[in-house]
């Protein structure tokens, strides 16, 4: 099912049709989950955010502009909610044991499958070490294949900023990739 065909179902779901909800969920949940999981590492947080994405989807469907691609809207919601969560998490961390949280977070909670991938994929593990601001650009550019202008639109920041973050991220990846001995691929 393509995204155009999904729209009538999404509308039905927002009006309370449960079978339509199921269909929409099946068609979108892996995409939403993976997008969030690339940006946030705590398993519990990922699930909270995915749940929140669906809530937002029903509630703001009336704001959806049908002239734009559905996935763009969906990814926009997802990225904004991740950012909201980051802001809240930052406050939470500042209030409670900031240091402990920061050191424990990645090791205790990360999904085993993701850890495994990290060991097998050098470049991916480097992406995970990038700061959030650089990482989100990399994921939207290389996982979702958005143009830099689209990313700027989605993140609501100037294109110039996206370009510089993209540039910085790639520079960082190249530099570290060479250091880990993967330089044979980088050309």
């Amino acid at each position: 099912m393509n995204d155009k065909e999904l729209l009538p179902w999404l509308e039905k779901a927002t009006n309370g049709d449960e079978s339509a909800f199921e269909l929409v969920y099946q068609a979108t949940h892996e995409d939403v989950y993976r997008t969030v999981a690339f940006l946030v590492y705590n398993k519990q947080d990922i699930e909270d955010i995915v749940n929140e994405v669906y809530m937002r989807m029903w509630r703001s469907f009336h704001n959806y502009d049908p002239s734009r691609p559905f996935r763009f809207w969906l990814h926009g919601i997802t990225v904004r909610l991740v950012q909201d969560w980051k802001r809240k998490a930052w406050r939470r961390i500042r209030l409670f044991e900031r240091n402990r949280q920061m050191t424990c977070e990645e090791f205790v909670w990360t999904d085993k499958a993701v850890l495994q991938s990290e060991m097998q994929h050098d470049l991916f593990s480097l992406v995970r070490q990038l700061s959030y601001k650089l990482r989100v650009v990399v994921i939207l550019r290389y996982y979702h294949d958005y143009a830099l202008e689209e990313i700027a639109d989605m993140l609501q920041i100037p294109v110039g900023t996206v370009k510089s973050r993209h540039h910085l991220a790639m520079k960082e990846l190249r530099k570290r990739f060479e250091m880990t001995g993967g330089d044979a691929y980088v050309h």
Partner: protein
């Protein structure tokens, strides 16, 4: 392979191994049901508010127009009959009777009926002292004739309203 291609390929491979846990479905579904219930609740609340507004829109003007008692059309106000020993309750009884009449008679008939009743009551008030005692003998011969005529004219209306011939 360029780093761009490599990156795309790795992200694709990694994402294929990141599977959404099946138990998340139950949770999202629960939130969805919560959303639906809330939406329905809000919808019926909207309907209720709307019904309320429409109800007010109907009630306010009718209250404005209907607020003078029908009985006021005949006596002017409740004070008029209180001067003659009438009470608030009696006034209410007359009012109730007029309301019934309004319901049973056509608009024209009702206007005629109230006009006649008004004349009759004016005569009646004339012959009634402050203790509420009426005496037909106080009327002039012309007024007495008028009294009888009014009674005769009103009889069919009373029949219509109450089914009895008694005025």
């Amino acid at each position: 392979m360029s780093i761009d291609k490599e990156l795309r390929e790795e992200l694709r491979q990694v994402s294929a191994s990141m599977n959404c846990p099946p138990e998340l479905y139950g949770r999202v579904r629960q939130s969805y049901q919560h959303y639906v219930n809330e939406k329905r609740g809000r919808f019926s609340m909207k309907k209720r508010i709307l019904a309320g507004v429409i109800g007010m829109a109907i009630l306010v003007p009718s209250a404005v127009f209907a607020s003078p008692y029908l009985a006021d059309m005949i006596f002017g106000s409740v004070e008029t009959i209180e001067q003659y020993g009438g009470t608030q309750e009696e006034y209410q009884e007359i009012e109730a009777m007029l309301q019934v009449a309004k319901g049973k008679l056509t608009e024209e008939e009702f206007q005629e009926y109230t006009e006649l009743t008004k004349q009759l009551m004016q005569l009646r008030l004339k012959i009634t002292n402050e203790y509420g005692v009426s005496d037909v003998k106080k009327l002039t011969p012309e007024e007495q004739q008028q009294w009888d005529e009014l009674g005769a004219k009103l009889t069919p209306y009373f029949e219509k309203i109450t089914g009895s011939t008694e005025p």
